[in-house]
């Protein structure tokens, strides 16, 4: 014979907690920051090329590979066999990677140049203290 036991919650012999029916789960940052865990990776930022976009050295970058990069997205790209974080866009009809720092010129990709976008950054977590 099968029997089903239903858990209806705790029973208190004394005065029940008035808050018991109003409890919420605590804020789960991971759940907020990571929509697709299977395709999300975290990078630690070095350097100052994106400083005017608010991406500071030491920041954690949440990167989702499942997102198709579009004009204006902040992306992790592979340039000269190294990872770099830049804003993806176009200049004079060519795909380009833009820094957020006047000291760094945009990188243009012309015919036969290969641009690999590794993933699209979804959040940036800067350390403040």
């Amino acid at each position: 014979m099968n029997m089903t036991i239903i858990n209806l919650g705790q029973i208190t012999a004394g005065f029940p907690s008035p808050a018991a029916d109003h409890e919420h789960n605590r804020l789960d940052l991971l759940q907020k920051l990571v929509k697709k865990p299977a395709s999300t990776f975290v990078f630690e930022v070095q350097g100052v090329s994106m400083i005017q976009a608010g991406i500071m050295p030491g920041a954690w970058l949440v990167v989702d590979r499942s997102i198709t990069p579009r004009n204006g997205h902040t992306v992790v790209a592979v340039v000269n066999s190294e990872f770099t974080v830049k804003r993806f866009g176009y200049q004079d009809g060519h795909p380009a990677l833009f820094s957020a720092n006047k000291k760094y010129a945009p990188i243009l990709f012309k015919e036969f140049d290969e641009l690999e976008i590794w993933g699209v950054a979804t959040y940036c977590i800067n350390p403040l203290v």
Binding site: K36, P37, A38, S39, R65, S66, V78, S81, E82, F83, E116, W118
Partner: protein, 169 residues
């Protein structure tokens, strides 16, 4: 119909994912304590390194650019979970067969070839790990088709020849 999804040179692909400088280079991943080669990139296979070759027998190939590296199993387990989760998001009937292989039951799939092409694209985009897919009427034949798909190394082959199987590299 069944599909067998198999990650290409799995441990070597995992190492490469976070080391773009290792792309297009012959790399061999060594077993615990750097004993034997347990994964080889295509370029390392081209150097003639057989599976399980002891490290001392391939040491001289470093002069030809071979890069050997110690294994990093926590990394491989993490990426394996990502690949398997991505497959499970696309199909309700996935059975994980090993760290880098999974069978997918295609019983309810109307167009197995297009389905396989689409999951190949999704897995490679979302996880960065390249996969091969073999399709066959039984699990055994899908495994055989997968082996064939890897051997012939072309983007997409449809073959209804001997065992009525479809291979996708």
């Amino acid at each position: 119909m069944f599909a067998l999804v198999d990650c290409n040179n799995f441990y070597a692909s995992c190492e490469r994912l976070f080391r773009p400088d290792l792309r297009n280079k012959p790399i061999a991943v060594l077993s615990n304590n750097d004993g034997c080669a347990i994964a080889r990139s295509e370029e390392a296979k081209a150097l003639g390194i057989p599976m399980g070759a002891p490290a001392f027998k391939i040491r001289h190939l470093k002069a030809h650019g071979l890069i050997t590296m110690s294994c990093n199993f926590p990394l491989y387990a993490d990426l394996s979970n990502r690949v398997m989760q991505t497959l499970k998001d696309e199909s309700p009937d996935v059975s994980v067969y090993s760290i880098d292989e999974a069978f997918i039951n295609l019983k309810k799939t109307k167009d197995p070839l297009n389905f396989a092409l689409s999951i190949k694209k999704i897995v490679e985009r979302n996880t960065g790990i390249s996969i091969s897919i073999g399709i066959g009427p039984t699990k055994t034949l899908s495994k055989a088709a997968n082996r064939y798909a890897k051997k012939i190394k072309i983007k997409q082959t449809m073959s209804m020849l001997l065992i009525r199987t479809v291979h996708i590299f």
